[in-house]
């Protein structure tokens, strides 16, 4: 097994300058993606998962800024690259697809124009070569009438077809990393199944690594090799997909998994996490999840937990795991003080 790391993020901190001062949306996030791996970045709205991916691409909104940390990709620290060098990385190595393909496609250009644009710009192909390649790409993502689609406009296509076009554009540069930000959230389940299958196929065919950003745990279970769970700007848990679902450790991850209504088992009542996510400008001293956590004790609201190691790279930001494997305050009956 090749364990080579393609992308390494160390202590990334991203903040927004707002009328209320600087607001940190990504707080000391560290993670890595191995070659040929799908890493899922999971969390609810406002947890910082999308801002982490936009930091990698350096496509943050104008008032957003990387304050600290490094993003190592192919031995380069992306944070230090010039705009021109970064544009090269975006055109050749890292591609991104978004949730709503309609807002990412130009409504007044044909599909053909939009796919060939990148090829002409980054690949220096002739017009004829670019066109042939574009048709081949559309066929690759499942368009049987690829030649006709080249001449059509985005509004003539359905949501699922538009997402296929976005994937074709992303794959046109042979990226080693594909960042997919909620790629199927706007799609119906039967179309979602088609797109997920397509992404799996392409990944295997081209050995692409995928950073999948999603809130849907079903999609995570289906696609991910490893999972990073974020809450309020921080990584709270990291594990391989099997361990995460079999042995979720952070009380937030446990709550999240339990909150999903099951298709197989009829529950009398849905599990729900009380309270709401803290606002990004809310200053917290201790664990950010403590106010909603059923297992929190005094220390949790005073002191910030670090990421504690469990087995096989499983990491959890929770004092319950501070003493390592085999400690469980609940079962051992240790007092919470």
């Amino acid at each position: 097994m090749i364990d080579e790391k393609l992308l390494i993020i160390n202590d990334l901190k991203t903040a927004f300058s707002t009328s209320m001062g600087s607001v940190t949306v990504v707080d000391d996030v560290s993670l890595y993606i191995k070659k040929k791996e799908t890493l899922a970045l999971v969390g609810e709205s406002g947890c910082g998962k999308s801002m982490t991916s936009l930091s990698i691409m350096q496509l943050l909104p104008v008032n957003g800024k990387i304050m600290n940390g490094e993003i190592i990709f192919n031995n380069h620290n992306l944070v230090e690259l010039s705009d021109k060098e970064m544009s090269k990385v975006r055109g050749n190595d890292i591609a991104m697809i978004f949730q709503e393909p309609m807002t990412s496609l130009n409504p007044v250009l044909t599909i053909g124009d939009q796919i060939t644009e990148g090829l002409l710009l980054h690949r220096k192909l002739s017009k004829k070569e670019a066109k042939d390649r574009a048709v081949a790409l559309l066929k690759l993502v499942g368009f049987s009438r690829a030649v006709e689609v080249m001449k059509e406009y985005p509004h003539q296509l359905s949501g699922g077809m538009r997402q296929r076009v976005m994937i074709a554009m992303a794959m046109s540069v042979d990226p080693s990393l594909l960042i997919a930000d909620e790629p199927t959230t706007a799609l119906d389940v039967t179309i979602q199944a088609q797109i997920l299958e397509l992404m799996q196929e392409l990944k295997e065919k081209f050995d692409t690594s995928i950073l999948l950003i999603t809130h849907d745990l079903g999609v995570v279970a289906e696609m991910a090799d490893r999972v990073v769970v974020m809450y309020a700007g921080e990584v709270v848990e990291e594990a391989d997909a099997l361990s995460l679902f079999e042995d979720p450790s952070h009380p937030y991850t446990q709550g999240l998994i339990k909150s999903v209504p099951s298709l197989d088992v009829q529950q009398e009542r849905l599990y729900s996490i009380p309270g709401t996510v803290p606002a990004p400008n809310e200053v917290t001293v201790g664990c950010r999840f403590a106010p909603r956590c059923a297992q929190a004790w005094e220390r949790c609201s005073k002191e910030k937990p670090s990421l504690y190691q469990r087995k096989n790279g499983h990491q959890v930001r929770c004092f319950l795991y501070e003493l390592g494997e085999g400690t469980n305050y609940n079962e051992s009956g240790a007092t919470h003080s």
Binding site: T190, Q192, H215, L217, L263, Q266, T276
Partner: protein, 326 residues
């Protein structure tokens, strides 16, 4: 069998397509095309389907936010599809709606107190003092702190706004609530709070729900009976257990198989449907599902299947289950 509170018979809602210089009607979008179902008192009827299947249009047509093109809507035995505006206004007190987007459906310039009071004012109910008392009672009922009565919607999170929407609907003591995707804009941890709240309110206030959603797991959790819609038509209606354990319609089967399960060890046999949902302005001949159906045969292309009674409250619109076919 329990008593039907609402019976829908052959309901259709068509939207004209205008074109040409004289804006003549050149076609029809058959958003809802001849559907029938009934909702029993005290139950939750789940209406599920993908975008454009007509589930939301059905909800809006029932409550006459959209005028039905044809068909009957019997509420407590009275056909409300044909009532005059004024009479409908009175009936609407019994039929309330909760909308998907709690950001768009609340007037940002009104306080929570005013928002919850508004429906009572419109219907001329109670005096001012009583209304204030009821507003507080409603806030308490849906789990909103009564101290927030003078706050504005933007000060609340999505889940809390949805509670405001529910409090508004409840303030008139309705018999039936039509909830159109009430939890789909919410995060999972908040979604379960709102679903549990709706469950509790139903028991406490003896409410009947029509719950419209695209999320099959949420529908399974909350419904007693489920109707599956495809392209403006009803594909299958059955008690919840039947729909999920023994789905009959090929579309229901594909839909259920497409839902990703949050367990990496489960590898589902997936029926991947080819193609997209066709346009309701130009639906396929015969069965609307036949171009994507893995089981389609000759008859499906020519003849529209009727909703067949399979027994035990299970209805399916598919020629596969037509006994004449052998």
């Amino acid at each position: 069998m329990s008593q039907a509170l609402l019976t829908v018979k052959n309901l259709s809602k068509h939207f004209p397509i205008k074109g040409g210089v004289f804006r003549r009607t050149v076609g029809q979008v058959k958003a809802v095309d001849n559907i029938s179902f009934s909702v029993n008192k005290g139950e939750t009827f789940g209406l599920v389907g993908e975008s454009g299947c007509g589930k939301s249009t059905t909800g809006r047509t029932l409550i006459r936010l959209l005028e039905p093109t044809a068909g009957e809507v019997l509420f407590e035995g009275k056909d409300i599809a044909r009532l005059a505006r004024k009479e409908m206004q009175a009936v609407r007190r019994d039929l309330q709606m909760v909308f998907q987007d709690p950001y768009a459906s609340l007037n940002p310039q009104m306080t929570v107190g005013e928002l919850i009071e508004e429906p009572m004012k419109v219907h001329g109910l109670y005096n001012k003092q009583e209304r204030q008392k009821r507003v507080k009672k409603m806030m308490d009922l849906v789990g909103l702190n009564a101290q927030y009565i003078t706050r504005y919607p933007h000060e609340f999170s999505g889940g809390q706004r949805q509670r405001i929407g529910i409090a508004r609907a409840l303030s008139l003591e309705p018999k039936l609530i039509i909830a159109d995707e009430p939890v789909s804009a919410l995060d999972v941890s908040i979604q379960s709070q709102v679903v549990n709240l709706m469950d509790d309110l139903q028991k406490e206030l003896d409410l009947t729900y029509i719950f419209i959603a695209h999320d099959l797991s949420v529908i399974k959790h909350i419904s007693d009976r489920v109707g599956v819609m495809y392209l403006g038509r009803m594909a299958e209606i059955a008690p919840k257990q039947k729909i999920y354990d023994q789905p009959l319609h090929p579309y229901t089967k594909a839909l259920l198989s497409a839902v990703p399960v949050p367990d990496p060890k489960v590898k589902k046999e997936r029926i991947i449907l080819s193609g997209d949902v066709p346009s309701p302005s130009n639906p396929p001949s015969g069965c609307a599902f036949h171009p994507r159906c893995p089981k389609a045969f000759a008859r499906c292309k020519t003849e529209r299947p009727q909703l067949l009674d399979i027994g035990e409250e299970h209805f399916v619109a598919c020629h596969l289950y037509d006994v004449d076919e052998g």
